[in-house]
């Protein structure tokens, strides 16, 4: 019974998301020139950190013992997964200003789940830029890494991208929940979202052990690419993890979603609106 209700709520949410995202796309289309410029700009911005990596490799042959194609593999996975999450829920950082100016209230009186409405808020097609750029690097990496491909390894690649995207989505939702408590502190979530995707572009061997433990067990983004990528590339895991840990990403993603959902509920329950 609850399954049916949940299902219909999810359906309602997706429907509302589609409707609102459509409105934002049409709004963006009214400034056609600006739209083209920002799409190109987005491609360039996201491409720059890969140029940074290329610059580093113009000086060295390996970083933390990993060679360029391997790092490109990490990079492609991290950026593509994050890019998808960014496209789907990336504008959640406007929540803080929506609460401040009171327009969040207007979303609460609509017959659609608020999470879907705020998720679709400021939906921007230009964010496809990051996904495109990440995918290009990923394809190049797949073609250049030296791997004995097995069925499991092949399957793991799309699984990583999807689970990674879901994990980052959960981070965005948790960040949005946090903004309900601290509207002005929206930037904190950048540390976890942009910081997270930047971190995952470099191999785990670069970072301190405690740091790696932190991003494996506490803030488990190591499962976006580090752990499964080590399995694919035949490298030792960053920590003494069991062999099957490479296939844990969907599980980790599910747990993250659950926790983010709870955080969002708690946040919404404590919402106190502005004024008075």
């Amino acid at each position: 019974m609850t399954g049916v209700v949940r299902g219909s709520r999810l359906g309602e949410g997706l429907r509302a998301y589609r409707l609102i995202a459509g409105m934002w796309i049409r709004s963006a289309m009214t400034y056609r020139a600006s739209f083209v410029v920002t799409v190109c700009g987005n491609l360039a911005v996201t491409g720059l950190d890969f140029v940074g990596i290329l610059l580093m490799f113009s000086q060295v042959d390996a970083l933390g013992g990993w060679r360029l194609p391997e790092i490109a593999f990490l990079y492609g996975l991290s950026v593509t997964a994050f890019g998808i999450a960014d496209l789907v829920l990336g504008s959640m950082d406007v929540l803080g200003s929506r609460i401040r100016d009171g327009s969040f209230d207007t979303l609460l009186v609509r017959p659609a789940p608020v999470l879907a409405q705020i998720g679709a808020d400021h939906f921007a097609v230009r964010r496809l830029g990051r996904i495109t750029q990440g995918t290009v690097v990923l394809i190049w990496a797949l073609a250049s890494v030296d791997v004995d491909w097995s069925a499991a390894k092949v399957l793991l690649v799309p699984l990583m991208v999807l689970s990674g995207a879901v994990i980052f989505c959960a981070v965005f939702v948790a960040g949005a929940a946090f903004q309900i408590f601290a509207q002005d502190a929206a930037e904190v979530q950048n540390a976890f979202t942009y910081g997270g995707t930047t971190l995952l572009q470099y191999p785990p061997t670069v970072f301190g052990k405690d740091f790696v433990r932190g991003v494996t067990f506490m803030f488990p983004i190591a499962f976006v690419n580090w752990v499964p990528a080590c399995y694919v590339l035949g490298r030792p895991y960053p920590l003494d993890l069991p062999e099957w840990a490479a296939f844990a990403p969907p599980l980790v993603a599910a747990v993250c979603c659950g926790l983010a959902g709870l955080a969002w509920r708690a946040g919404l329950g404590s919402y106190r609106s502005t004024g008075s």
Binding site: Y31, A33, S34, V37, T38, G41, N42, A44, V45, L48, D49, V51, G52, L55, M56, S58, Q59, V60, D61, A62, L63, G64, A182, Q183, D184, A185, A186, E187, V188, N190, A191, G195, T198, L199, Y202, T205, V206, F207, G208, F211
Partner: protein, 266 residues
Amino acid sequence: MGSGRLYAAVAAGGFRRYATYRAATLAGVFTNTVFGVILVYTYLALWDEKPHLGGYDQAQAVTYVWLGQCLYSTLAIQGGGAEKDLMDRIRTGEIAVDLYRPADLQLWWLASDLGRSLFQLLGRGVIPFAFGSLFFPMALPTDVTSWAALLVALLLAMVVSFGIRYLAALSAFWLLDGQGISQAVMILGIFCSGMVLPLNAFPGVFGDIVRALPWAAQLQMPADVLMGKTDPLAAYAFQAVWAVVLLAAGRLLQQAATRRVVVQGG
């Protein structure tokens, strides 16, 4: 003297305005610290592979990272300072009011942006830098002169940073596309300032070009001045030349823009 006091008041206003966003400032401190830690680890790995890259040793590379995090919002390296407000005013047409103010438009915004810079330096910059020096090996000078020399380089860097963003903001008079400009400011700012990699470590001709652009005055020069990697006077000269060129260009563009507004208004 009276106008000096006016601009001091404008600067103080810019400082106070940003000082009211306490939670945002704390959030920024946190984010800059996290990014600093990530960058430090990657730089340590890089300098491990290639010691003395760009003429820095590991401790100096770490110092560079934390100075970068310290100056990130101080110099509005990815934008978001006075130019954002200015572009908003151009878009809404409120700029016309500013033009009739009995104060110089450019100096007014410069003062306001310097006030903002100073707050960001104290409120957002100092803590990540201190955090870095506590937990990572850094190459910090122990003499007062080096620090004093840094302050001069910082002031010049603030003016150059403003000069770049003021030009970008004024272009909104003709382009009417704030988003595209903001994005360009961000891309060039992050990359050419050396936020991704110290400009010293950029290879070949590409490196030579990047090191001659005005963005080199923002992070690279202050870092080299602090760590004694360059003659401070040469660094100041480089920064000052760019500051003058940018402000002069800003003034020319401002005059053209003013004429445009007047024509449109009539």
